[in-house]
Symmetry: C2
Subunit: 220 residues, 2 copies
């Protein structure tokens, strides 16, 4: 055992990277941010923004730096959560055996602070281009987690403006879940979750009577 422990500097270390799945809702569609690779392997193919973890950098910092350097996004306002670490496929990167710690987050698309020279594009999760590495698999995993979490928490508040109607919230849930929801059941579930604050004001939605506006209780 002593031998094994002291071996760390002897054996070849895998590469360790962070990739970020950033979701938004835009044009009534669940979208994920992709960048087009400017280098081999997978030159020209789309990929999640990612980066190898530097020795003196926390993995959370690696995620935010990837968003900034690859996506041109100032991520300081972006909520990121660790999703999963992919390390079972030894061939996922052709350069070096790489383990990927994946973060995911939601952002209201209007709030993204694109910086100059960004290569970031929003793609529908339902209509993805050909992706580099195992990024298709990673995105599918992230979509499933997002769907699993939507009723558990107010995670979705990241996607909504400060004030919204129940119709707008239902729409966002439908887009994430990829299916229509019954209006009455939706309102019942949301009420049970106790995540909304009634703002005691109304918004005109089309020709209908004005709809009540809400915000998330825990937001801000």
């Amino acid at each position: 055992m002593a031998k094994e422990e002291s071996d760390i500097f002897q054996f070849k270390r895998p590469g360790i990277a962070v990739d970020v799945v950033l979701f938004t809702i835009k044009n009534d569609d669940l979208k994920v941010g992709l960048i087009q690779r400017q280098d081999e392997p997978y030159f020209g193919k789309f990929a999640l923004p990612g980066r190898f973890v530097r020795y003196e950098e926390t993995i959370e910092d690696t995620a935010r730096t990837a968003l900034k350097q690859k996506g041109g996004i100032n991520s300081s306002g972006v909520f990121l959560e660790q999703l999963y670490t992919f390390g079972s496929n030894l061939e996922r990167d052709t350069r070096i055996r790489t383990i990927s710690i994946v973060y995911y987050g939601l952002v209201e698309s209007s709030k993204i602070d694109f910086q100059q020279g960004n290569l970031f594009t929003w793609y529908s999760v339902y209509d993805l281009p050909k992706l580099a590495f195992d990024h298709k698999e990673i995105i599918d995993y992230a979509v499933n987690r997002l769907r699993g979490k939507i009723w558990e928490t107010d995670f979705a508040f990241q996607l909504m403006p400060d004030e919204f109607t129940l119709t707008e919230l239902q729409k966002a849930y439908e887009i994430i879940l990829g299916k229509k929801l019954d209006k009455r059941n939706f309102r019942k579930k949301i009420a049970e979750l106790q995540i909304l604050k009634d703002l005691k004001k109304k918004k005109q939605e089309g020709p209908h009577r004005p709809a009540a506006l809400y915000s998330f209780l825990r937001k801000g």
Copy 2:
């Protein structure tokens, strides 16, 4: 960007390890398996079984090899799930900056197949010895996850014998949750989960009338 991509072989790579939090219930207590370190750093201190990820090894294999080599445990029957990847504390290992992918699992203590020369000891999560690295923090995180999951799934079936009474199951839940549960609420919740199969036979429990025996629907 091309420069950054081609830099992977230039910069210093962090170490990447896997640690395993293996839980069991023994003597009416939630216990975790620890090994006593035979090497620096933290010589003589207790730690989770862990191992650096080899280049040609999946992270799941690393976890199972750690259980085998450090714990003397044949893990083929042990259900392991990825818990979290700890990579925010740059100082967690004094030898090399190390990111730890943590797996956790539950095992029925009688089923552990200890191999020769094992150094594995079960410690109560409520009375841990002084631990190496950040392993106390990792165990706390794992206990919280376990408690969060207990009502969601039949995850706990890993801990139970093939046949058990509702009283025995409630006891296991109480040990994991660290608190007493109301018998009626417990039985109602378990019924809602629809995870049990009534075996249509009885077991004598002390001087009371015989109790119905159950198994998990999905087990095996």
